[in-house]
Every structure is written in C-alpha cells, then in structure tokens.
Assembly symmetry: C2
C-alpha cells in the first residue's frame, strides 16, 4: 500500500508540516520506501518532484521539508511498489495535459486486469496499473468532451469512471486539473479543514507541533486529505465511500 | 533572448559543471532573469525543475548546482521573457507524453504569427509562442503516426516541421523523446563532445575549472550543446543552420 496526501487551500499555503509527517513514512516510520513524489500547483503551472528512492533520507525531500513552496493545490504520494519496478517513470503523481490544463493523479491500491481496458488519447510511460488507470480515465473524458464541460457533468463522469476502475480493485485516488481537487475513496481517505480559529497540531509520525495561528491569516481555509490521519490532536473525517468528493479553494463542493 | 543547454551522454553523467555556468547567466552574468527550468531524463522517466524566478539566487538552482543528478539526456533553459508573462506555466522546458514517451522541448527566439497555426492533439497551458510551437509540432507528428515511425522518417519530419516554424521567426530548439536529443539551429547553437583523453575546462561565466579526467571513465562520451560556448578553453563547433542535428548516447547521428 502507498500513502496519499492532498491539499486544497483558499490562498497559496505551505504544506511543509504535513509533508514532513508523510515523508517520514517513506522508509522511516512506514514501509513505503519505493519512491515518492509531489506536485505543487502555481496557477495553471505545476511543479513536480519525483524520486524513486525512499523519501526519508532523500535530499530532494529534505530540501522540500526545509523550503517553503506555497501552493493552492498539492498532491503527494509515497510508494510501496506492488506493480511496476522501482523506477522514476513509475513514481506518482502522474501528469498529463488535457484541455490545456495540467492534470495530476496519484493512486493508492492495486488494480487487477485494468490493462485490458482499451486506451484512447493517453498512453502510459511506465508499467504501473495506476498510470494505466489515469490514462484510461483521461482518455474517456477527452473522448467525451473536446473542451471542459460544466463542473456538474465533469464530476458525474469522473465518479462514474472511478466506480468502473474500482471494479478492478482498491482505488483511493487524488486528482486535480489545477482548479479542483478530486478525491475518491475505496478504503482509506480522511480529511479535515483548518480555518479560524486556528489551533496547534502535532504530527503522528514525527515529534513536531505547529501552531497554525502563527502561520495563517484569519481568512485562510486549508483542507488536508490523506490515506491516514497525519496529526494526533485534530479531528479527521472519513470521506464517503465510492463517492467523488471535490474541494476547491479549501472548501468542500457538492460533487456529482 | 534566452539560453539553451543540452546534454547527450553514453552513461548517466552529472551536468552540474555546465549548469553552474548557464545558471549564472540567469540574472548574474546575463540578463535572463525571468525564470529557468531543467529536465533530466532517467530512462523513460523525466525529472523537471522549473522556477519563474532568476536562476542566480534560486534555492532550487543552488540545490541542483550542489547535488549530483546523473542523467543521459538533459535539456535546460533560462528565460528572458518576450512573449507570455513571467509565470510557472510559461517556463521552459515544456513536457508532453506522446507514443508513451516523455517529450521535452525548449526554445530560444521569437515566433510571430505562430498562434494562427491550427493545433491538433496538444494544447498549450501557458501563453508563450514556444509552447504553442511545441504543441503544433507534436500534434503534426501524432496526426501522421499513431506509434513511433523509423528514426529516418521521424527525423525528416521533425526537420520539415522545424523549417516551417522557422518561417515565423528565430527557432533555436532542443527536444528529446528520452532516447535522442534533437537540435535545430536558426542563429545560435554550438556543441562539443568530450571523450578520452579528457582534459580540463574553465567556465566562461564563473571562476570554476573542472578536470574531467577525475570525473569520467575512459569509455564515457558526453556531448554538450548550448546557445553560446560555456567554456573558454575548449573548441566549440556551430551546428549546421536550419538542419536537424540528432545526438544519441553522446554521439552525433545522421539526421534527416
């Protein structure tokens, strides 16, 4: 199994604290030693960092833990290889351009027989079932619409496709198009929204407490979503099973 | 104008030395302060780093100058904005998947009227003429072939498309599909190949000399290509004008 971390925020926000916790699971407090990656949106642009080595001890992960990269949407993944060898091209999150937007995808779980589904406009570069599922999903969206449809139609279609992928196994997924954070839970996905009055929080995986009142302004709204709670002293909610959940600007939106 | 740097090598090679020189032109010894980016291939995978800030003084550029990332193909770009505002999505190199391969592209020059060309399967995310030209070029390749053709056919077609783009302005270009490094010169593109017996070289832009005999093994072959010579004590050749030049495993290949 792998670990997922996502963020949706109303203002560009530093995810160092949450990433510090997640990245310790990569070979330190967890068994997820087969690579990690993270995507930070900056408007329509997107920065990605990938490393097929364990995140605990990775120089790039150290760099990210110590340098603030502020972003409104973040998707991160640390990997325990199930399918596909340990290699850069098999390291989440995966990235494709569709409709002139950067689409980013990360997956937790195993999918059986997914590679029998016929692909459309997108082909995988690596050998993972996850990248294959992403390519199939985007291909279906693009086959249906040459340009972005309404949110309502798009959300309904993503949920339908995610349900279809779920018939192949465990499909916990985070995806974004640079505007919305799309989340789909098969087994593990929890979230919380931090907003005023901000308090303090302590990481489960590292002896680190952050007082958010010192790092935020009163209007900030920041949602964190992960496969397991990252902090021990906050209240995490489980997302509804087999339902597309959409966050935008840190707020929960009605999905399909 | 911008600066380009490319590398093709027979074994994974550290480009720190050349990047140290190039990155100084980003706001220090040169006027190219509007962002920079670099792509390192690792097999079929590709790491990219982009920063809309100047490379001289960029924490990520500092990290790359001090940490060895070995790669067989590298494409880097530092930007002086002409078209498209200073933003992450306008920062080269640009990346797309085609035929299950990572295609990376960087361009130096200005192109007028390029946005009147009809696009195919690829749409730009940002507003630069460069990304538009890349999308048009890939769209044309993909319209012609659903899977990779022979090298001979592919090279001839890329040259033909590059010549067509050149009618819109200055088109110095570096591009790769993870196997070959494609180079096209309108005005500025020089190259050299380092191989045994290796000597020492001194950067034009920084007081730094490297003795390659200490960093290489006798069978290594490393080609560096750039818009201007990076070293003062090596012999740089200009690539033929308006001709596709292809490097693979550090060696010059017959192009079209």
């Amino acid at each position: 199994m792998c670990e997922l971390l996502g963020m949706s925020a109303s203002v560009p926000t530093d995810i160092c604290f949450s990433f510090a916790g997640l990245s310790q699971r990569g070979g330190q407090t967890g068994p997820h030693k087969d690579g990690w990656g993270i995507a930070f949106y900056d408007g329509k642009g997107c920065r990605t960092f990938h490393d097929p080595a364990a995140s605990a001890g990775s120089p790039i992960a150290d760099f990210l833990r110590s340098h603030s990269i502020k972003s409104e949407i973040v998707i991160s993944h640390i990997r325990k290889a199930n399918r596909g060898r340990v290699a850069l091209e098999n390291t989440h999150p995966f990235l494709r351009e569709m409709w002139g937007q950067n689409w980013v995808f990360a997956h937790n779980g195993q999918l059986r027989g997914i590679k029998k589904l016929p692909l459309g406009a997108y082909l995988p570069i690596g050998g993972t079932d996850s990248e294959y599922a992403f390519c199939w999903l985007l291909g279906k969206l693009r086959e249906r619409w040459a340009r972005p449809p309404s949110d309502r139609m798009l959300h309904a279609m993503i949920e339908k496709l995610a349900l279809q992928i779920s018939t192949h196994g465990v499909f916990n997924m985070l995806m974004s198009n640079s505007q919305s954070l799309y989340c789909f839970r098969a087994t593990n996905l929890v979230w919380l929204t931090r907003r005023t009055p901000f308090g303090a929080a302590t990481l489960v995986d590292e002896d680190l407490t952050v007082d958010f009142t010192k790092q935020t302004s009163p209007t900030d709204i920041v949602t964190i979503i992960a496969t397991r709670p990252l902090t021990s002293d906050e209240s995490w909610s489980t997302t509804p099973k087999s339902t597309l959940v959409v966050f935008r600007d840190g707020e929960l939106r009605t999905a399909a």
